[in-house]
Symmetry: C2
Subunit: 329 residues, 2 copies
């Protein structure tokens, strides 16, 4: 399926160039100019800014906020004397790869579902626009200029409140048929046997390995209602129940990574998200779980942490726009 | 990682053309000419032939047999007045995507590991050669001219003696970092909890959903030592133990497909392999398992049977050669 988000836009390519990049989350919308001196030099992220998403005001209002911020960036680029070649957006929710509209967003962003992000920005700004999911953007940023630089095949696992991910295949982010590719959280896990998942299925990895899964497992086992970070602190301090929950989160994820690695044969796996801060108990369990389930041939697969932090989704959104323009073909 | 199997070969492309295609299995080596009238018309498979692999004679002897058969096909093509543009090979075992050598083959083909298939055929025949795993070849054939024609993202699941698979991403077969991509059999399955897998891990899907898994589960539950086909017959005839084993094979595979679909967001899933003949009990359990674990958005994902039968790996091997030559760029 070809990407026809902006079917009649001029598909200009070439370097040097500047892209307006935006990252839409539930609490804030971040934006920046991503400046490329050449195709093979690391982009410079500049003119950073951020505004509150005010998600409760609804999807149409969020789209106006996004549009205004994108307009500011385009204007800032023009002031610098180098016209912005297009707008790259990474956003929470599932993005229709064909239209650049929001196919689905959860209750954190009411009314974001259905918003025609690419079409609206293009109409307002008169520039090519490419939109993808924020985790996919993060992975693409890391694959081009971060922890997975130059990787042709790569899996990113994002363990935060939920458990998401993204796949790089043939050097490009895998969007899938509907733009949903990379949702690793609904992989079956024997460690989650019988636990109901938010998606409606049962025994899914997200129920034990995500931040919210850690919190729920701790409560279900008789612990208090604490945040994942607090549970990790207690585990480090010797709380036996907390230790069990944190270690299960690590080992179940490590075991699942072995299965995904066997399936995708990636050059490396990039780990991202707040759960990475759960400490050495979690990390040791992750590596032990991986080693337990992976075949000999994949034992030395690098499992590395993401490098680009908050810039990754912006750089990835910019790279997706460059792919869309054919600038990297 | 770029494919450098034949770094200095002339990368001729263009249609019409004829490719010599070969499919190396543990019992026979099949070969044919795959003839293309144009880039967008279905290829014609002709001049079919097959010889015994005689795997016990060792890898070097198998390579000579393969080389002789490939030479016959090239000569046959020349006789017809249209020179063969190159040789496409699909083979049992894992193929190093960079060199076209056999990275690993199991005991069914002793000494096949390490054989420099691409380099040897190229030296003998003086033609470009591209080699890939036989399941990957099968999937590529189906994706280009069979059940998944035109698919950009597709998963093929091959349930035979073992449980394998292949992934089509961005319209091309995903080789992965070492050429191993698509090995879905080592996905964790709650239904296989605690069962030791041949790979060294535990709780892997292959132990319950493959043909050998069906046979072992039946024996482990107190049944006789029967073939998978015999167990399926008994299940259909009302044998309760056989029914349980066959239904578990179907439902565990269906549940796993839901996880893979969530991860890859394919346009469809293609099913192949002898286990597809296990009958309606197996098939109903497969679809029920899938429905139980898949999110609403993927409920209507087509799960379809492969169409091209024995021609699929040959057509896929030919398509891989065309990709290698850049003929489909």
């Amino acid at each position: 399926m070809s990407d026809v988000q902006v079917v009649d836009a001029e598909r200009a390519g070439g370097f040097p160039c500047v892209v307006a990049a935006l990252d839409v989350g539930g609490t804030k919308i971040a934006g920046a100019l991503v400046r490329y001196a050449a195709s093979d030099t690391a982009p410079v992220v500049e003119a950073r800014r951020a505004v509150p998403t005010k998600a409760a005001r609804g999807g149409a209002a969020v789209l106006e906020t996004l549009s205004a911020l994108a307009g500011e960036l385009v204007a800032a680029g023009a002031t610098d004397g180098q016209a912005v070649v297009g707008v790259g957006v990474g956003t929470a929710g599932r993005v229709d790869a064909r239209t650049g509209s929001i196919a689905y967003a959860n209750e954190i962003m009411p009314g974001w579902t259905g918003q025609p992000v690419a079409a609206h920005l293009r109409e307002v700004l008169g520039l090519p626009v490419a939109v993808l999911n924020d985790v996919q953007a993060h992975a693409l940023g890391e694959a081009r200029w971060g922890a997975a630089q130059g990787a042709d095949t790569c899996l990113m696992v994002a363990a935060g409140t939920g458990l998401g991910g993204a796949i790089i295949a043939h050097g490009r982010v895998l969007r899938g048929a509907h733009g949903f590719a990379g949702e690793v959280g609904h992989t079956l896990s024997p460690d989650a046997a019988g636990v109901r998942c938010v998606c409606g299925g049962t025994s899914h990895l997200e129920s034990v390995a995500s931040g919210s899964g850690i919190e729920e497992r701790y409560r279900a086992a008789g612990g208090e209602a604490l945040s994942g970070a607090e549970i990790a602190e207690r585990a480090a301090a010797g709380d036996e129940l907390a230790r069990q929950v944190i270690e299960l989160a690590g080992s179940s994820l490590g075991e699942a990574i072995a299965g995904w690695a066997s399936m995708l044969d990636p050059e490396l796996v990039v780990l991202a998200g707040s759960v990475l801060n759960a400490g050495p108990l979690w990390r040791d369990a992750l590596h032990e779980g991986y080693a337990r389930q992976t075949p000999e041939t994949l034992r030395s697969l690098p499992l590395v942490d993401a490098q680009l932090k908050g810039d990754a989704p912006l750089i990835g959104a910019a790279e997706n726009l460059l792919d869309f323009l054919g600038a990297r073909d």
